[in-house]
């Protein structure tokens, strides 16, 4: 009886998940100690944990977070400022929507980030390259979702606006935008996820900037625990970012 209620508890599976991850690390530590896993390829998990503090202090992680954060902020704001008006225009002009919506969808699936050498030539090896590349990578989802959100606004709401004789501007800000906001935000969430992947990825590839460069630097120095710690750190930052976006999206959902 007690075991059945334990299985039904919300926290039990979470505890099992966390403890099995911990067990895997403990096993790895053991295998490394007895020499079954090569310690020149995989560092001791305990060393990785210890290295976290070291890289935060020695590699100036706060400054790197600021740099990556600045690139993220610029790109995230720009995708909204560019993507939402384009999505709105595609909603408003049906002919234009029919003509190019497939192109926008294709853009979302295309390996655009591969064009980074082109942008290196255009803008040099600078943060501008990372920002422009990330904006281009993140635009498609927000355009598609803005059009989808606005198209999904219930006609009855539009008719209420018309019966109140709202102007086009009032109709957009008082009816369309609030009603479409949850869908538009899911586009923002997708776009910002693309932006994060692009910013960190390009920083790593061109060895410039904040957190992406940190991984590259440590790997080139063959600082094994440091490299693993830096990767873990970027993963933790990414996961926190996604969780935060998800919270905001859930918070916005009841508006609909």
């Amino acid at each position: 009886m007690a075991s059945a209620s334990l299985m039904k508890s919300r926290w039990f599976p979470i505890a099992v998940g966390a403890s099995s991850v911990f067990a895997v690390f403990a096993l790895l530590e053991l295998l490394l100690k007895i020499g079954l896993v090569n310690r020149y390829i995989v560092p001791f998990p305990s060393d990785v944990v210890m290295a976290l503090e070291r890289i935060i202090v020695e590699e100036n992680v706060p400054a790197r977070i600021r740099e990556t954060g600045f690139e993220m902020l610029c790109s995230c704001v720009a995708v909204i400022l560019i993507g939402v008006p384009i999505g709105t225009a595609l909603y408003r002009y049906r002919a234009l929507r029919r003509a190019i919506v497939d192109w926008v969808a294709a853009m979302a699936a295309a390996p655009l980030v591969l064009a980074f050498p082109l942008f290196l030539v255009l803008f040099g090896r600078s943060s501008l390259t990372i920002i422009v590349m990330s904006i281009i990578t993140g635009l498609a989802p927000i355009i598609i979702k803005t059009t989808e959100g606005l198209s999904g606004v219930r006609p009855v709401l539009m008719n209420v606006g018309r019966s109140l004789k709202l102007t086009d501007t009032q109709m957009f800000w008082k009816i369309l935008m609030p009603a479409a906001l949850p869908v538009i935000f899911s586009g923002i969430r997708l776009s910002w996820t693309f932006v994060l992947i692009s910013v960190v990825g390009i920083e790593f590839l061109i060895n410039l900037g904040g957190l992406g460069q940190l991984i590259n630097d440590l790997a080139e120095r063959y600082d094994l625990p440091g490299t693993y710690a830096a990767i873990s750190f970027v993963i933790i930052v990414s996961v926190c970012f996604f969780m935060l976006l998800e919270r905001v999206e859930t918070w916005l959902r009841p508006i609909r």
Binding site: R94, A109, L176
Partner: protein, 269 residues
């Protein structure tokens, strides 16, 4: 409320204001598309000839066209294409198989899903390219590290899609299987696999996209073969028409691959 919506729907879509009214013919759509393409080409060519930007940064369309032709006639292009194609294929097979296996496990069992799915879910959108140094340490600088990284990218997409597919299976189908006293093998092959075909194939299609991008990016970072390596070689020579040309070819190949996979699996939009 729903009935009010339905009654008002035709009036709302055909009225003035925020929604442009009327039907758009296929001919008009094509005309707009052609107009946009011609407009972009004209602006591009004007900028190219104006000298406003550094020479060759915006090469003429003719030069890009000629470079595409030259690349397609170059045997080295096909050798590199073969390497990248192999990396993507192997990534898809390894990552896809592991993804389906894990997806079935967490999709079929609520406890396992509650315990382990958050890890798969939150790791899925992290930038995979940052794992490249680890893959180099484990698998060397050759093709194997690109395959491993591609498989890692593909795994998460396929696993999440398969788990979602498992949960969407109609319970009636499972009860029918049980009432016929189907063996686990029969349940798997006759009920589960056909019922979750679409989400799994969709996951594989998405996995193809992520595996392609990751393998190509890894090639740009450290490689001596593959299309990503070729892009970096052309970039190092500052041969801009060829850089544009190769990028266009890669985008077309990735798009065609996605389209073909969509047609083959029956999951195209």
């Amino acid at each position: 409320m729903a009935s009010t919506d339905q009654v008002n729907a035709p009036r709302a879509t055909a009225s003035r204001g925020w929604i442009t009214s009327g039907r758009v013919s296929e001919r008009d759509t094509n005309l707009i598309r052609i107009g946009i393409l011609l407009g972009v080409a004209a602006v591009w060519e004007a900028v190219s000839r104006s000298g406003w930007l550094f020479r060759d940064v915006v090469p003429s369309l003719l030069a890009i066209g000629a470079s595409i032709w030259k690349l397609l006639m170059n045997p080295a292009f096909y050798a590199n294409l073969q390497v990248t194609a192999w990396e993507v294929f192997a990534s898809l097979v390894i990552g896809g198989a592991l993804g389906i296996f894990v997806g079935i496990l967490i999709g079929a069992n609520r406890f396992l899903a509650a315990a382990y799915e958050p890890y798969v879910y939150y790791l899925a959108p992290t930038p995979r390219i940052i794992f490249f140094p680890v893959m180099i340490m484990w698998f060397g600088v050759g093709v194997a590290s690109k395959i491993a990284l591609g498989a890692l990218s593909c795994f998460f997409t396929v696993a999440l899609s398969t788990a979602g597919g498992m949960r969407q299976i109609d319970k009636v189908l499972i009860r029918v299987g049980n009432s016929f006293r189907a063996t686990p093998w029969q349940m798997g092959t006759k009920i589960y696999l056909p019922a979750m075909r679409v989400p799994v194939l969709n996951g594989i299609r998405l996995g193809f996209g992520t595996a392609t991008v990751t393998a190509l990016l890894a090639e740009t970072k450290l490689s001596n073969q593959g299309l990503g390596f070729m892009i970096m070689q052309i970039y190092a020579r500052f041969d801009m028409p060829s850089l544009y040309g190769l990028l266009i070819i890669v985008f077309v190949i990735a798009g065609l691959g996605n389209l073909i996979l969509g047609k083959v699996t029956g999951t195209s939009d």
